[in-house]
């Protein structure tokens, strides 16, 4: 992994963070569909990235988002779980023939069905944790459930749109 790739990964993370706190923070559809698009960033990190760098990236992105959402630690805790589980989940979903090195597990590289079965469980874990930690100590079970489902759908649709618009397919597979 050369330095240009490292810089481009960090820069992408920064862009996601800025976009999240300045634009998407104010975007809540129907009062329940939140757009935590930064989860997509962790999901789309290169496949060969080890767990520890992933965890560190998740930690800083999570803290950055928490800072602006006034939800100290909640985004971080939920995002760290994703960073932790991601590598194992990728091993479970190995396609026949294995992964290419330094490939992004994106929609364009891996196909629509594979991407959905890869990303939706991760997003679901993140959102479940986030909304239940956030409403801890209240009896808001069904309100939170509604928010989780609406947000998972919204984030998945947004992430598909973002990938179609801004990501490139890798040649020569």
């Amino acid at each position: 992994m050369n330095s240009i790739r490292v810089i481009s990964i960090l820069l992408t993370g920064f862009l996601y963070l800025v976009f999240q706190v300045l634009v998407l923070k104010n975007l809540v559809l129907f009062g329940s569909a939140f757009c935590f698009l930064y989860v997509t960033y962790i999901i789309l990190l290169p496949i060969d990235l080890k767990t520890i760098p992933t965890l560190l990236i998740s930690f800083f992105i999570g803290m950055g988002v928490d800072l602006f959402y006034d939800t100290l630690g909640i985004h971080t805790a939920a995002l760290l779980i994703i960073g932790f589980v991601r590598h194992r989940w990728l091993l479970v979903l190995v396609p026949p023939g294995g992964y290419d090195d330094d490939l992004q597990p994106s929609l364009l590289n891996m196909g629509f069905g594979w991407f959905l079965s890869y990303s939706i469980p991760l997003v679901l874990i993140h959102h479940t944790l986030f909304f239940y930690i956030e409403s801890l100590g209240t009896d808001l079970f069904f309100t939170s459930l509604q928010k989780i489902i609406a947000s998972v759908i919204f984030v998945t649709v947004m992430s598909i749109i973002v990938q179609l618009l801004f990501y490139r397919r890798r040649r020569g597979i």
């Binding site: 930690f59 602006f68 630690g73």
Partner: protein, 262 residues
């Protein structure tokens, strides 16, 4: 590694749960404050007309009150006890960040300890109660919104002076619950609910909401009352901070007598 970082995150959640959190890791710190300030400088232009309108309305209301307070032409004027006067002072501030869809919502304003903001001060706007100051940095402060499931506001029903606590139930940002009103009280739909002024965080009589639903609660002793909030949290742009000169004294009195006060 995972366990370590996760432990850090969880300890942050726990330590931040108290209402007087540390001022560093939230939106009142200088970095996020200045980002929000810049953002609000741009976005503000879109809400100027509605802000103007509400200011004019508040002005008109204040002018009417001023007219009523004007001294009569009579030469005999007996002032009230001076201890009753000037127990509260107000400061204006601009909201630069707001949320209303989470279960625990916060606002950020552009005034901080440099401008005399202290944590625990009450926050109102021209419509009604907004929240309480949580933590303060030099130029910004974070406010616990009334739309926060942990915030209780001491309130009373205007028509019959019955006390209760207003608390948001986390579901609809336009409605809240009035709790601890005993069953024998007759509450009519459309009754005004205002602050009680008992704990001197808010002045007495700041409006909170209107009763829209009364049910016998699941708890046997209290009614289940739903309020429609007077404050429209989706378009808050300017707020007033309430500084009470009596509050330190009251707090220490309550503390020494062992009364917990909310």
């Amino acid at each position: 590694m995972f366990v370590l970082l996760e432990a850090v995150a969880i300890s942050l959640i726990v330590s931040n749960n108290s209402q007087q959190g540390s001022a560093f890791f939230n939106s009142s710190n200088e970095l996020s404050g200045s980002v929000f300030q810049t953002q609000s400088n741009v976005v503000d232009y879109f809400s100027l007309s509605s802000v103007n309108k509400s200011l004019v309305e508040k002005n008109a209301q204040l002018l009417t009150e001023l007219e009523a307070l004007r001294k009569p032409a009579d030469s005999v004027f007996i002032p009230l006890d001076s201890a009753m006067l000037a127990t509260m002072q107000f400061k204006g501030a601009k909201v630069i960040n707001n949320s209303l869809r989470l279960a625990q919502n916060h606002l950020t304003i552009n005034k901080g300890s440099n401008h005399g903001v202290k944590s625990g001060m009450g926050v109102i706007n021209e419509q009604g109660v907004v929240g309480r100051v949580k933590s303060v940095s030099r130029n910004f402060s974070t406010i616990i919104s009334l739309l926060h499931t942990d915030l209780l506001v001491s309130s009373k029903i205007k028509s019959n002076d019955v006390f209760g606590s207003t608390k948001w139930d986390g579901i609809n940002p336009e409605q809240a619950k009035l709790m601890y009103v005993p069953r024998h009280v007759v509450v009519a739909l459309g009754d005004q609910v205002v602050t009680s002024g008992y704990n001197s965080i808010f002045p007495e009589g700041i409006s909170i909401g209107t009763v829209i639903e009364v049910k016998p609660g699941t708890d046997t002793n209290y009614l289940d009352i739903t309020l429609k909030l007077d404050t429209d949290f989706s378009r808050i742009s300017y707020v007033y901070l309430v500084e009470s000169f009596q509050q330190p004294e009251l707090d220490s009195l309550y503390q020494s007598t062992g009364i917990s006060n909310e």
